[in-house]
């Protein structure tokens, strides 16, 4: 075995069994290089012009065909795309990691707008289960109702449903904001870890069940609280934030936010080892 004290950095790493290939992916290449932070972009993204607009009729397309065509239009610089006749198809608009103004003239099926980062989306219809799952950034507005698992595991961005949503809204969410104009089903905020959920209407049973962190605001009646979900004081800054957020979201502008309930994690289910580094807790 080579002497680690005398060999060069590269061969030391090799001696320790570490490979030296260039790692790809944004986490490895971009996050740890402050000089390149300004130039951060995803591979395969495009410069688009929001004033360059086009329609795309997806009536006779499969979801993969439609998604490829959206990508093709972005590559041509179209920054505003209007999707006609989505007709409840699944998985439309997934994986868009680009600035884009996307408008759906109709309803989506399951997994619509999943794993996106950046687009501004308006859906003039309804969405099925798991809309905008894993959203990183951007804004998705749904004019009608949404199915269950709305905004599952989102990390950021704003997700707005002007109608009612099904069960498990915001399940496992790790950031961002979900705003519901109507009612929400059972297990809303189930195991959420960060972020905020605002529900102007009623919410079903087991609200915030096993939530680790984050905040839920409810304007209507609560079916029941989930395990470790507790009331908290609605502060002045909470109310100011709610007013701003609802105004920007163009929803419930005249809603009396002072009467909303604030629900947070009681943290009695937190069972972290006391010897664990504090930064690890912070990461969770």
């Amino acid at each position: 075995m080579a002497n680690l004290k005398t060999v060069s950095k590269k061969s030391k790493a090799q001696s320790m069994g570490m490979h030296t290939e260039v790692l790809t992916g944004r986490t490895q290449q971009k996050f740890f290089n402050p000089d390149e932070a300004e130039n951060f972009y995803y591979f395969g993204t495009y410069d688009v012009d929001f004033n360059k607009r086009t329609d795309l009729d997806v009536k006779d397309m499969t979801a993969p065909e439609a998604n490829k065509e959206i990508d093709n239009l972005m590559s041509q610089g179209y920054g505003t795309i209007v999707i006609k006749n989505p007709q409840g198809k699944h998985s439309l608009g997934v994986g868009i990691l680009n600035k884009l103004n996307l408008i759906f003239e109709g309803s989506l099926g399951y997994f619509g707008m999943g794993s996106c980062d950046g687009p501004i989306v308006r859906i003039n219809g309804r969405v099925g289960w798991s809309c905008a799952e894993n959203l990183m950034a951007g804004k998705v507005v749904i004019e009608k109702n949404a199915g269950s698992c709305f905004g599952a595991a989102i990390r950021g961005g704003d997700l707005i449903c002007k109608g009612s949503v099904g069960a498990r809204t915001g399940i496992d969410m790790k950031g961002g904001t979900i705003i519901i104009g109507g009612d929400a089903g059972a297990f809303t905020g189930f195991m959420m870890q960060r972020g905020r959920i605002i529900i102007l209407g009623d919410v079903g049973i087991n609200l915030g069940d096993s939530m680790y962190d984050g905040t839920i605001f409810v304007g209507g009646e609560i079916g029941s609280y989930g395990s470790d979900a507790v009331d908290a004081e609605l502060t002045k800054s909470d109310q100011d934030w709610l007013k701003r957020k609802l105004k920007v979201a163009e929803i419930g502008e005249n809603f009396d936010v002072s009467k909303m309930k604030k629900i947070v994690a009681g943290k009695k289910l937190w069972n972290y080892d006391n010897l664990e580094p504090t930064e690890k807790k912070g990461a969770i």
Binding site: G88, G109, G128, K144, N145, G166, A167, G185, A186, I205
Partner: protein, 314 residues
């Protein structure tokens, strides 16, 4: 993962066979081991329609044991004899496939229990449905295959429910396929998406009360559970509401009678359902694309909440 679909026209009839075929075919990715239809057709209401099988489809993918076709003929003969002994007159007879038959029967009786027990005491024979409007047609394959095989696309009626099955806990065969007849009640059928975890406990209790199970499919429990509730005087809606606590597990199910269609969703809301409701039509399915096959234009739909029960009349 299975797919369910249903629709009811209020105040008029329509081509429900073709409509349900479209809805179920749109859901075929949720399972195409078998597909079943419960169609409520326009009839004069005089005679009973009995759909029954004298054997299984032993084609590709089937978990059933191969039998000689001559056995089916023998069983049919015994069924004919038994019907004659009971004073039931066969007005019309159709044998769509060697193992699948449709009889129109002139038979004046209110209690179908004894009738059904005698027919099903013949080995290998199972009544798929019995009613004055209901016809249950189920077989292996996707919706289009079953529809073509049984020429269902021309059936006109008021309402229908159906099921696209991915077999999980029981065999790939007709007896485990949905819909299930609400034995021994005339014109009651059930389809289910989900899994019932207290199936065996409930089954033991219900069998001790004289109820009949034909398969080991957990979904059959819903039909039997509701039938037992109705036998004890409950309305359909009362039975469905009781099922929210009486049945354990995850479920969304539809139940249909001669003049109504209902849905129930468990308290966990773990199984999907999208619903469209207007004054003249209610259409629902596991996914919106099922509804879109009959209503391609932009419409307002929603997900019923956890623990919700709804019943519509024709």
């Amino acid at each position: 993962m299975c797919g369910i679909a249903g629709l009811i026209h209020r105040g008029k009839s329509s081509n429900v066979g073709s409509e349900l075929q479209g809805m179920l075919q749109a859901l075929k990715h949720r399972g195409e081991d078998s597909t079943g239809y419960a169609l409520y057709g326009d009839t004069d209401g005089k005679n009973f329609i009995m759909r029954f099988k004298v054997g299984e489809n032993v084609g590709e993918g089937s978990s059933s044991v191969m039998e000689d076709v001559s056995v089916y003929d023998e069983r049919k003969k015994i069924v004919d004899q038994t019907l004659a002994e009971m004073g039931a007159k066969v007005v019309k007879e159709e044998r769509t496939l060697p193992y699948s038959l449709r009889y129109e029967i002139d038979y004046n009786v209110k209690d179908l229990l004894e009738f059904s027990q005698r027919i099903e005491s013949i080995p290998g024979v199972e009544i798929l449905s019995m009613g004055k409007s209901l016809e249950v047609i189920k077989d292996l394959g996707n919706a289009k295959m079953v529809c073509d095989r049984y020429s269902l696309d021309k059936v006109v009626g008021t309402h229908a429910i159906g099921h696209a099955r991915m077999a999980t806990e029981s065999g790939v065969d007709i007896k485990s396929a949905h819909p299930f007849w609400g034995y021994p009640f005339s014109d009651v059928s059930v389809v289910h998406n989900g899994q019932l975890t207290n199936y065996w406990n409930n089954r033991r209790v219900l069998e001790n009360k004289g109820m009949r199970f034909m398969s080991e499919c957990d979904s059959e429990l819903i039909a039997v559970y509701l039938a037992e509730k109705m036998r004890d005087g409950a309305t359909l809606e009362e039975g469905m509401k009781a099922s929210l606590t009486g049945l354990d597990g995850v479920f969304t199910y539809f139940v249909a009678t001669k003049d109504s269609l209902g849905m129930a969703k468990d308290t966990m809301a773990a199984k999907p359902l999208v619903l469209y409701e207007s004054d003249d039509l209610v259409a629902m399915g596991s996914e919106e694309i099922a509804i879109r096959s009959v209503l391609p234009q932009e419409i307002d739909t929603y997900d019923p909440f956890d623990g919700e029960v709804k019943v519509w009349q024709i």
